[in-house]
């Protein structure tokens, strides 16, 4: 934007959102979506490390075949804690509540979310849920695993099952509020010219994930409520001795928990779809297909829950149908992998840390995806379900996929969020370390699983020890790779170079305002003139080979002034 344009705007409108007050109270009462994103980021980081610490002890215990670090009950509580915290307090809120909150209004050219106060409320609800979760942890979480299967959870488990369930129940309100906000914002607050098919894929991902959140979370809420009611008030719902059905719980639980996987992976797909075109300097390949693929994943994702229950005793016919739908839902995911790959074709690729994370995401997600296909085959699933094979598979999707993408987004948007550049070499090192640490940790678990090592086992046959030791070693590498960014990103807050408005030369609207953005995001409502990834003319490359390498995008989506 030009100096003349800036000159017309009063100074208080130009001040960055970070400068709008620095007292704790100003943060705790803010309705600015950017500040709420920061609040969420701090909260989920704390939970990420709590969940990580729990699994750290588990991996230490698994170094030897015998039980030698913790008791059986403690072990069971630790993996329950790891699952509950990581799924509901880190992965589900991770990308939507941080990058989604921060970027959705910026990307569509809006001054804020549709319901800013609801947005803040959602954070307080999440905080309350977190406090309940911590109370449950300190006093002993229920040893049910994160899946809460009845009648173990309603009757037999020790520990505070009801508190653990209550924490998740309350967290659900936060998810729902976020989803409602995103949907209303996307519908009602797009800047002039921002048509649906000009939305960046990240916004599409947020829209798709919001729909899943809004429609799946309530089913989890009622399911956990029924568990709490049965456990605390003694009202029989699932009680099998009275004619209740333990499978009813599983159907209800997985009706949420399978779509929940898509709550975790769709935002990751959105991030990759922003980062890869930017550093490849290419339009994303097959934009419309990418949009349809996300909608298809969100929709079909609701109809595959039964593939978690192939050995549960559900009918053979149900197994067939769910197996079929699981293959169908894999098609759009495969299309996305092909399209990201094709986006690289004839690009001008550079390898900043964000790009390395994004490429790592594609690889790990692809591996998680093909092992998912194996699990969709009923005979293979009968053998490997509830073993480390499944554990490895979903960690490839959720950690290899979602967490890698989270770090890709963190590095990509860090200059926009903080106005500072992170140290590039450190970041590249951490990205590579994370990729190898991850594979080192989880690849051996595929072999372990096929060999017949059940999950949630504290003691195991000695011939599996080598793989467990490998996995634990890898986990410590992975832990280092997670701690590293915490260090250098904090460092960059104080000593990092100033970033400038658009350090990567990206085309999105969020890069057309200052870094960090002012409170109302844009000094004037942006006008959108183009699609999201116009890094080069429709049929051509951005620059002839050997031409001067400018960071300027070929054509940004629009401008504010």
């Amino acid at each position: 934007m030009t100096d003349a344009a800036l000159g017309r705007v009063p100074r208080e409108f130009r001040r960055s959102y970070l400068g709008e007050g620095s007292t704790l109270l100003s943060w705790l009462t803010t309705t600015d979506h950017k500040r709420i994103a920061i609040l969420y980021a701090i909260t989920i980081t704390v939970f990420f490390f709590i969940g990580g610490a729990a699994i750290g002890i588990v991996r230490l215990e698994l170094m030897t075949p015998q039980a030698d670090v913790v008791s059986a009950d403690t072990y069971n509580r630790l993996f329950t804690m790891h699952g509950v915290i990581m799924v509901w307090f880190f992965l589900v809120p991770s990308i939507p509540t941080t990058f989604g909150n921060f970027l959705l209004p910026l990307m569509i050219g809006a001054p804020d979310m549709a319901f800013p106060r609801l947005n803040l409320l959602s954070w307080y609800v999440a905080l309350l849920a977190g406090v309940i979760a911590i109370v449950a942890i300190v006093t002993g979480v229920g040893d049910t695993g994160w899946t809460f299967y009845t009648p173990l959870s309603t009757e037999y488990a020790t520990g505070h099952v009801a508190w653990t369930a209550l924490a998740i129940f309350v967290m659900g309100f936060s998810s729902i509020a976020t989803g409602i906000n995103f949907i209303a914002t996307t519908h009602m607050l797009r800047a002039p010219g921002m048509t649906w098919f000009r939305l960046p894929l990240f916004v599409w991902a947020m829209y798709a994930v919001s729909i899943v959140m809004v429609l799946a979370t309530p089913v989890l809420a009622i399911t956990l409520l029924l568990v709490m009611v049965e456990r605390v008030l003694g009202l029989p719902i699932f009680e099998s001795t009275l004619g209740g059905d333990p499978l009813l719980f599983q159907h209800l639980f997985w009706f949420y928990s399978h779509p929940a996987v898509y709550i975790m992976i769709l935002p990751a797909m959105g991030v990759a779809s922003e980062v890869i075109p930017c550093f490849a300097r290419r339009r994303v390949f097959g934009y419309a297909f990418m949009v349809y693929a996300m909608i298809a994943i969100a929709g079909i994702g609701f109809m595959v829950w039964g593939h978690h229950m192939f050995v549960s005793g559900q009918s053979n016919f149900a197994n067939l149908v769910f197996s079929f739908l699981s293959f169908v839902v894999a098609v759009p995911s495969a299309i996305k992998v092909f399209n990201w790959t094709a986006t690289l074709y004839r690009g001008q690729i550079t390898f900043e840390a964000a790009m390395l994370y994004a490429l790592g995401f594609v690889g790990l997600f692809a591996l998680g995806g093909v092992t998912g296909l194996m699990l969709a085959c009923v005979p293979i699933d009968i053998h490997v379900t509830d073993t480390y094979f499944v554990v490895a598979h979903f960690h490839y999707i959720m950690v290899g996929g979602t967490v890698s993408a989270f770090f890709a987004g963190l590095h990509y948007w860090w200059p926009k969020i903080t106005g500072r550049l992170y140290p590039e070499s450190w970041a590249r090192f951490a990205a590579i370390l994370m990729f190898f640490g991850f594979n080192f940790t989880f690849f051996p678990q595929f072999i372990l699983g096929y060999l017949g090592m059940p999950r949630r086992y504290q003691v195991y046959p000695p011939e599996f020890q080598a793989y467990h030791v490998m996995s634990s070693m890898g986990a410590s590498v992975l832990a280092a790779a997670y701690l590293l960014p915490l260090g250098y990103l904090m460092w960059s807050l104080f000593w990092g170079r100033k970033a400038g408005d658009n350090p990567w030369g990206a085309t999105g609207l969020e890069w057309q305002t200052s870094s960090p953005p002012p409170k109302r995001n844009f000094l004037a409502t942006p006008r959108v003139m183009a699609g999201p990834y116009e890094y080069h003319p429709a049929e051509e490359s951005p620059e002839a080979a050997g031409a001067p390498m400018s960071r300027e995008p070929h054509r940004s989506q629009g401008g504010g002034a």
């Binding site: 059986a72 299967y149 004839r346 001008q348 690729i349 504290q458």
Partner: protein
Amino acid sequence: MHATLPLFPIEASVQAGRTDELFFIVLGMSVVVLGVVAALVIGFAIRYRRGSPAKRGPLPPLISREIEIAWTAGTLFTFLFVFWWASSLQLAAKAPPADAMPIRVLAKQWMWKMEHPNGVREINTLHVPIGRPVRLIMTSQDVIHSFYVPVFRMKQDVLPGRTTTTWFQATRTGTFRLECAEFCGTDHARMLGSIVVMSAPDFALWSEAQPESDSLAQKGAALFRTLGCSGCHATQSAVKAPDLAGLYGRAVRLADGRTVKADDAYIRDSILQPLKDIVAGYQPIMPSFAGAVSDADLQDLIAYVRSLKDGGTP
């Protein structure tokens, strides 16, 4: 630390060979797809790094909507092929052969109780002959467990209040690990057992050597009298209740017009929830025995009713 690093579990059942075959085919396809994706990503990353001399310019006409449709269709058909194959395998393997040897399994925190057709009971160990199909009829006394024998590639959840079945046919003698695969509380990781597969003569010898014990059906018959079932269900009884002789396996017409098969689940339901399925022509007068009979008792009673199908009278 163990001396050798196992890479692949041995195959000890008919099902194991089939599962592994499918697994290797899908694995091969996966390796090819992943290899292509990895080669393209790395290849493009090197060839089209910024400033490289590779040709850029307009895209060749081939790279367009058509290729997108082509790989969507290609992926879909590949997946459908794998689905078809996996499902046909599943359907073929689901039903146990008619002559399968029935073994009753009762799971509880944290042990397995097995019972042979001749009444021999075992705890955490199951002896079976090689080459003969074995059908497991399982239920749980408390929480959900899962009967998992990795070398058989066989797993089936064991539920409270329900009967689940699965079967296997061992192809290799030896002692194999049985594990509980569904998290079931404190000692889940210690809910282990072993499956001892023996040659037919060895199994016969082992079976001979077991102490005599009442068969399930005999115990069921005793329960049938002590619980007072015989008061109504015996043929000479004054109260009109359905005759159980020859009932097992037959189709039963119900008062509401439905027809159900008198299998394990039906008999179990009839004992626990008599009002659920009223037999046509009878009054709903039977009290529920829920809470009065244990899961083990139920197995005995069902075995007894089953024994009546060959012409016995209650």
